[in-house]
Amino acid sequence: LAVLDGLKYAKSHEWVKHEGDVALVGITDHAQDHLGEVVFVELPEVGAAVSQGGSFANIESVKATSDVNSPVSGEVVAVNDKLGEAPGLVNTSPYEDGWMIKVKPSNASELGSLMGPKDYTKFCEEEDAAH
């Protein structure tokens, strides 16, 4: 399962990528693989506030809704409208076309509590091994 360089990762399996003063957020390849086929994505409104660790979206897969939690705090400045018609992009392209929201971060120091690619890879391996 893919873990990309240049991104930061949360223990709840979301990723964040800084592009200038905006942070792009989505779920990881590990998460989409474990969730199964995504059939519906419910995203917040532009302008909504998100907080680190707080739920901002819902994904439906295999008869379950799963919370998606924001790795950073801030204001939602864009949402991926394509996910309405093509929720499967979360499965096929979790780090690119399947991005979920863009956030204007309010607290740069939050990045320090997130994992880099190597730590996240190890985290996933340990989590799967424990089950």
Partner: protein, 270 residues
């Protein structure tokens, strides 16, 4: 407090068991969502029959695609959109509801993902139905052979999950006519209509026996502790914004209108 220490000694997590009879399904779903999101306890809720026939859709359900709306509206059947995923069911006093709300680490080896949770719940109900019918978890449905008798759905938060099931102990054939054949269906359904696809649990075991066997199976994983409705009320927060909701008659009528030819031309001429 004494029971908690006992359960810690045994190494099994505590599970509060709450039993209702005839609770309206909207109230049940609101209670479940509140307990999932605002408490940190494990819960089993058993509701022995809803109070009235009600359609319950999953979070992404579209009434126009899933329901025979003219009949639903004409017969004043309530339609609810619930907070969990999954398909559409019609429930009534013949439906037995079993809901499990757990912390993510409550059951060893179970990860907070849908297939992992259902793999465990399938084993739990294997124990309940041991020697009864040809029970299995088949493409995420609870079946006897190739006939579904239990529909389940889930919601997963960062640290907790809920798995709830509506078991068809009995049902009215007429009520099934409110539901269309869904476009998204398991392969084993083979395009069968509802009366050919589902079956009644009453043909296999007594209502009370099912509930007793379920609680007994839970004993293998939890220290099951009876809780009263007062216990439930005492641990709830005052304000909680439910996402389960009753659809209005207007919403259903608008959905019905959207399926009729000529609707776009009419609205364009206004």
């Amino acid at each position: 407090m004494g029971l908690l220490r006992q359960s810690e000694k045994l190494g099994l997590p505590l599970m509060n068991l709450v039993r209702f009879k005839g609770m309206p399904i909207l109230d049940q779903l609101n209670l479940e969502e509140k307990l999932l999101r605002t408490t940190s306890d494990n819960w089993c809720i058993v509701n022995d029959g809803a109070n009235a026939p009600t359609v319950v859709m999953g979070v992404s359900g579209k009434p126009a695609e899933l329901l025979e709306l003219e009949s639903v509206i004409g017969d004043n059947v309530p339609v609810i959109k619930r907070f969990t995923g999954g398909g559409t069911v019609i429930v009534d006093e013949g439906t037995i509801f079993v809901t499990l709300i757990c912390n993510k680490d409550a059951v060893p080896k179970v990860q907070p993902y849908p297939r992992s949770i259902m793999s465990w719940s399938g084993k739990l109900y294997d124990e309940v139905f041991q020697g009864i019918g040809d029970f299995q978890l088949r493409e995420n449905d609870y079946v006897f052979g190739n006939r579904k008798f239990g529909g389940n759905a889930q919601s997963i938060t960062k640290d907790r999950w809920i798995h709830h099931t509506s078991f068809l102990w009995d049902y009215e054939d007429r009520n099934m006519t409110y539901l269309k054949l869904p476009s998204r269906a398991p392969e084993y359904r083979s395009a069968r209509d509802h009366t050919e696809f589902v079956c009644r649990m009453r043909e296999y075991l007594q209502r009370s026996a099912f509930i007793d066997k379920t609680i007994k199976a839970l004993d293998n994983y939890f220290m099951v502790q009876p809780a009263t409705p007062a216990d439930v009320n005492s641990c709830q927060v005052a304000k909680f914004a439910h996402s389960t909701r009753l659809l209005s008659k207007q919403e259903l009528e608008d959905a019905c209108s959207s399926t009729k030819p000529g609707t776009i031309a009419q609205s364009a001429s206004i």
